[in-house]
Structure formats: C-alpha cells, structure tokens
C-alpha cells in the first residue's frame, strides 16, 4: 500500500444498496402527479431523478416525499417479505 | 575562557548590556555567549546575566560560578546579593558607583555611569541608559576592542549621545 492517507473516492453505493433499509416503499400515482417536483426537492438522499423517477435501489423509505406531496400522488406501501 | 557575571535590576538594561559585550567580543573574532538568567524578574528586581568569551567554541550553558569579572550595574544591589560569590582570587569588579566604591581584595573599577547618562539626558522610560557607557568602560579594560565597541553602539543606537557616553566612561575609568 502506497497511499499516505485514507482518501475515499466518490461512487454510488458507498453505503451499500440502502434500498434494503425500507419498510415502506413510495409509489407514485401518475394520474394525480402534477410534476411540481417537491418530492425531489425534499428527498434527503437525492434518490428521485429530474424526471421524478424514484431509485428504489437507494430510497430509504423515509416517506418525506409522500408527506410533502401537495397532490397526495405518493403513497407509502408496505414492502413484502 | 573569560567569564563575566553581570548584576543589575530589571529595567536597567543588564540583559541587553550582556548581549552587547558578547557581540563586541564576537566582532573581535572571538567566540562569545550571553545568557540572561530568567526567573520571575520584574522591573526593579535583581537580575543576573552571564557572558563568556573564548578563542574556542563555548560548550557551557550552566551559570558562571567563578567569574573573572563581576559587573555591578546598580551599587545598591550589593546590599541584597553577594555579588562576589565565587569570584576568582584574581577576579576584578566593575561597579557603577557614585562614590568610587572599592571592594577589598579585588581590583575594583568604579565609574559613575548613571551620572554620565543623566548629564547627557540619556533616559529611557525613566531609567538612565547604562549599557552604552558600560561598553566604553569595558573597552577601556581591554576586554573588547575600541573598534568593536564603537561598531556595537553605532549598530544598536541611533542617538549620537550614546557614543559620547561611551567615550566619557572610557576616559573616566582609571587603569
């Protein structure tokens, strides 16, 4: 090992696939969604893309998106075992 | 090695005087060290400095126990401190003295440095400047050369009166 200091390099999945942390999963009802983007704005983990697609590999299921959605277009669904 | 112990009071410039004497010796081509003995000295408290002059590099850092010369910048200190402690039998004493104080058993050189400075109005922060006339006196004693004494004063003090003070002390000291 020649590195003098632990320098971590950026990459997705640094904390593993955090999608496995979820108990509840957000689901979008595209009928109700008005593309306001608040869900993406408030997602702490930037797991919602510009096109408002939720990356379920990483979404931790906090539920902020559903809570803050003004159109109630998001619902938290219990993950099945 | 020639060892000098210098007694003064805080604020009288004793620490600077020791550096200037050592610096003059350095200019003479000698090895020299000047060491202040620091404690919790404050203005007015007795202070001791040491000067060593030699033809060889000086390897000693401890205090001077057996001086060849004792310099007393303030006569009144002799009431408080045994300035002759450990002085060599042939050791000499220089005293800044108004009344020509002599020390028994040792060659004594009394010069009134204070009056010289006061007569030239050489006063800094309320204290008469003693180290420039002292340099003149030490040069007269042959411990440092006249040229080096002049250079040290010229490099250290801008005021011409310092040169005059050194010259007067040089003249007043009787060998």
């Amino acid at each position: 090992m020649s590195a003098k200091l632990a320098i971590s390099r950026p990459g997705e999945g640094a904390a593993g696939k955090t999608g496995t942390w979820r108990t509840f999963r957000p689901e979008i009802d595209l009928e109700k969604c008005n593309k306001c983007g608040l869900c993406r704005l408030y997602c702490p983990d930037a797991a919602i893309s510009v096109d408002l697609v939720i990356d379920l590999d990483y979404c931790k299921g906090c539920g902020i998106c559903a809570e803050e959605c003004p159109k109630k277009a998001l619902t938290m669904i219990r993950e099945e075992d | 090695m020639f060892e000098i112990r210098l007694h003064s009071r805080g604020g009288q410039g004793g620490v600077t005087a020791a550096k200037l004497i050592a610096y003059a010796a350095f200019l003479d081509g000698k090895y020299a060290t000047a060491t202040p003995l620091y404690g919790a000295e404050r203005r007015g408290a007795p202070v001791v400095s040491f000067i060593r002059i030699d033809d060889e590099p000086i390897r000693i850092y401890s205090q001077i126990r057996n001086p060849d010369l004792v310099i007393v910048l303030d006569e009144s200190i002799m009431q408080l401190v045994d300035v002759l402690n450990g002085i060599k039998p042939e050791g000499k004493v220089f005293i800044n003295s108004q009344g020509g104080t002599e020390v028994e058993g040792h060659q004594t050189y009394p010069v009134d440095l204070t009056s010289i400075s006061l007569s030239l109005d050489l006063v800094l922060a309320g204290n008469p400047i003693l180290n420039t006339p002292l340099i003149g006196a030490i040069a007269k004693m042959g411990i440092i050369s006249q040229d080096s004494a002049k250079q040290v004063i010229a490099e250290t003090f801008r005021d011409e009166r310092n040169v005059e003070a050194a010259l007067r002390a040089y003249e007043e000291l009787k060998i």
């Binding site: 590195a3 003098k4 200091l5 632990a6 971590s8 | 060491t35 202040p36 390897r59 850092y61 205090q63």
Partner: protein, 368 residues
Amino acid sequence: MLTFGTGNKAVAMAVRDAKPVVVAAYPITPQTEIVEEIANFVTEGSLAARYIPVESEHSSMAACIGAAATGVRTFTATSSHGLVYMCEMMHMSAGARLPIVMANANRALGPGWNIGAEHSDSISMRDTGWLQVYVSTVQEAYDATLMAFRIAEHTDVLLPVMINLDGFLLTHITQTFETVEPGDFIPPIATPHAIDINNPGGYGTLTPGNTHFKFRHDIERGMQASIPVIVETEAEFSRRFGREYHLYEEYRCEDADVVIIAMGTLGKEMEVAVDILREEGTRAGAIRMRWFRPFITPELNGKDVVVIDRDYSFGYGGVLAGELQAKSGCQPFSVIAGLGGQEVTYDDIAEFVRIRRPGTEHWFGVDD
C-alpha cells in the same frame, strides 16, 4: 552570513530562509521570540508568508494541517503547555502525513508554574508519529530547522518534524551562527496526497480496522525511511554549507570505558565533563543523541553507560535511559537531572560518572 543572536532568532531566520507559505502560531514563553521575529519578517516583507495569529496551540496545529493539506509548506512553534494542548492535532498531523515543521522550546509542565528547560513536553509526544530532533547550539538550531523541511517533505518520509531546543538555555542564549542561502537545498514541496479539486475525495474518511492498521504501518515505514533521508540530508548539508551533523554525535568515544548520553544543551556541556574526567585518568566519552524519533541506537560495545534524562516517565523511569536499555541491552546508570531548568553543570556531570552504579536510578539533587 555570520551573525549573532539567540536560539529563537536562529530558528526564525531559518524559517525565513526556508520560505513557508503559511505560519500559524500562538505565543508562549520561552518560544515567543520565534513568532515575534517571524511576524516581523512577514510585516517587513522579507518572508512572503501568510502569518495566522491563531487563538490557541490546538488551532495553530489545526491551521497548519489545513494549509499543509493543500500542499503548501507550513511552520509553527510552541512550548510546554502549548505542545501538550495541541496533542490531539499532533496525532492528526502525523496521521494525515503532513510535512509540517515545528520548533519546540523545551519547558517544564505545571504545576507548579515553571518556565525552565525540561524535555517532558516533547517526550510525551513520542508516540504521535512526529520526528524529533534535539539541538544543542544556536547554529544547530538554525541548521536543523532548515534540514527539517527537506526531511519532512521528502516523499519517502512525509511526516512532520519537531526541532527541540532547551528553553532559555538555548532559546535565549546569544551565540555566533552562520546563515546560508539554501538555494535548491530544500526542493519545492510536492505532497502527493494534497487536496485536488479536480479529483474529489474524502480525506481521512471512516476507515475500517483491517485497512486502518495499514495506514498506521505506513507511518512506521515513513519513520524507518526517514533514517537514510536524514543521513543523506545531513551529508548534503555538509557538502553545501560545510557543517557536519550525524544521527548522534560522539565525543572522545573511541577508547572510552564509560560514555555519558544526553540530549540538548546537557549533551554539549557534558563534553567539558569528559575533558575533566580524562584529565583525572578516567577514559570517558560522550554521545549526544540528536534524533529521538526515529530512535537510533548508538554503538555502545559493552561500555559503561551514564544516561542523563531531562524528563521522566512516572512509574517507569528516565525515558532515554529506558529506551537505550531496551534497544541496546546496556544497564545504564540513569540520572534524572535538570528538570524545570534545574542547574546542572559540567562538574555535576563529571560527578555522575564518578558515582555511577550501573542499573540504578539517581535523581540529582534528591538522592545526594
């Protein structure tokens, strides 16, 4: 240029000549003159550095870390309580492999308050990963400071270096010394792990145990690699500037039956004791340890050994004596002397040799 000044001034002038980009420091007796002189150099323009007047020693080392992390040359200075106050950052700076150079004016720790020379401050930093050199003249203070930058920044080393000089005894003594034009003696700094905006990374991130120990091991590799770098640097210094230094300095050791070992100013004064003992018919010699980290074991060849420690590890013993014993197998007469600036003369040192009892400990001024 031949000049005349104190140990503190010599360090400051060496720093000026080494041209650091950032100096962050906090004043403490008896180091103060170093930072005052450097502040003067910066103000008058003879040193084009950023001087950061920090609010504590913890922050002086922290600021040096921040600056050195960007890949620039840095310097700080401290003493005693200041050094132990920055202890956390001592570990951080060495752990981050930042080649910071620091002067430490060795001074006792309270209570009671004491500003005299003692090595307990720097000795207590021995396990941080800092290189430590102890100097014994004003000239050596200047030379060792210049060399410290070259050693610390060497890509085989990349560890910080501390130059230790005895408080007052060396910081405040005025002696002759010669400054040099370093030229390319200190090559431009090139820290391979400096922050690179174009190659983002998490510096010093969470590191699991099975990786962490590899970085720790690499610190030791740097330490070991520093030995040839020190030898090479001192040889190059001698070639260019004419003054010779070694890992440790021997004095009249060739035929000696007994050697005195010490660091700092006592390591110079003891040469006078050796001369006195020789005149008495005792074949004495002296070894002045310069580098305490990395620890370099001198050749003792079965000689009687008298070690003077200006430090103490409570519940253990004199640190230098203990390390020499562990590394060389000698049974030293361990003298503890000079703590808190206690006056120790060449006569006292000669007496240590006369009364020596190998394998025992002697507290000067206590056990008499």
